[in-house]
């Protein structure tokens, strides 16, 4: 899909978003120019800040420039279920282009920089530039594929496989976005966040991470977690990246 040389500067707030759109659909120079011309503001957020609250009516669409984010829902008992993690280039609320009210929370899990675009301008981009519209479609469909995989993960995999699978997905998505290979990845999650994404308590997560470390697959240094045997780790997770459709 890489059919032209991008004219985007390294410091453009849209650099990561354009790179993602190019992975999703064969956008051309005019498409890129239309993205660069979007009205926008750049904002920063601190780890744990909420970007979108369930029940709100967002008027702006945001994409991650750097840092990481998570979508989540809360149970009536206050328990948080993280339903997806997000990396630079991801549009965090593409569904609000066509759905008025937020049906979940979006939170950053690390300090982050974001670019915010008025919803109407993003909607116009999607309708006036058909290839970008296709990229948005594919993004939403791949999101749905990832959610299906997460249902399988939480419903049918044992605790260790579940954690390993969730981490594999994150590593593969980061690599697809050009953010480092598996062995170079330092995972940004706390035990609590891994637990909230896998339906486990942080004590159980800690125990399973220890087993993965004892098997020589990962190394833990304080809060950071590094993969040392990627092939072994993928096998332990039973990970097949087909559901990511190469572009995520």
């Amino acid at each position: 899909m890489d059919t032209h040389i991008s004219m985007i500067s390294d410091v453009s707030p849209f650099r990561q978003l354009v790179a993602k759109l190019r992975r999703l659909a064969p956008i051309d120079e005019a498409d890129e120019a239309a993205v660069l011309a979007l009205p926008h503001r750049v904002g920063r957020a601190r780890a744990r800040d909420y970007l979108i609250r369930e029940g709100s009516k967002p008027h702006e669409c945001c994409a991650l420039i750097d840092g990481y984010a998570a979508r989540s829902k809360l149970g009536v008992n206050g328990g948080r279920q993280i339903v997806s993690f997000h990396i630079p280039g991801d549009i965090l609320d593409i569904q609000h282009l066509f759905l008025e009210r937020a049906d979940h929370n979006v939170q950053v899990i690390s300090d982050a920089t974001l670019v915010w675009v008025p919803m109407a301008a993003m909607r116009a981009l999607a309708t006036q530039r058909p290839t970008i519209g296709t990229a948005f479609w594919r993004d939403a469909l791949i999101d749905a594929s990832i959610f299906r995989e997460w249902v399988l993960n939480v419903g049918r995999r044992d605790a260790k496989t579940r954690i390993a699978h969730m981490l594999c997905e994150f590593i593969v998505r980061r690599a697809a976005a050009g953010l480092g290979t598996a062995e170079q990845t330092q995972l940004p999650f706390s035990q609590e966040e891994i637990g909230d994404a896998t339906g486990l308590t942080s004590v159980h997560v800690n125990r399973m991470l220890r087993e993965l470390a004892e098997a020589g697959l990962i190394v833990r240094k304080g809060r950071s977690l590094e993969i040392v045997d990627w092939d072994g780790f993928r096998r332990a997770a039973g990970f097949d990246a087909a559901y990511l459709h190469l572009a995520a």
Partner: protein
């Protein structure tokens, strides 16, 4: 706003200790104890799915200076009926 403290939940199971280096923020020791009970049950669920269960394991709750504040035995986290 509630004053949050960090509590560390260390899992002691059959001679090994899984140290908690991260901890969790809780409003009180009572809340940390509730989390420890939920954690014990969660670990036991994982064990039961593998076809085994040890009720002698326990979770030790400490503060940031490693002072033991409470101990939650697995046996006390569940009501067991039958023989």
């Amino acid at each position: 706003m509630t004053n949050m403290n960090r509590y560390f939940l260390h899992l002691h199971e059959c001679g090994t200790v899984v140290e908690d280096a991260e901890g969790l923020e809780c409003a009180s020791l009572a809340e940390a104890r509730q989390l420890a009970v939920a954690s014990a049950r969660d670990v036991m669920i994982g064990e039961l799915r593998e076809g085994r269960l040890c009720l002698d394991c326990h979770i030790v709750i400490t503060d940031g200076s490693a002072t033991e504040l409470a101990r939650v035995p697995f046996r006390d986290a569940v009501v067991v009926r039958g023989r």
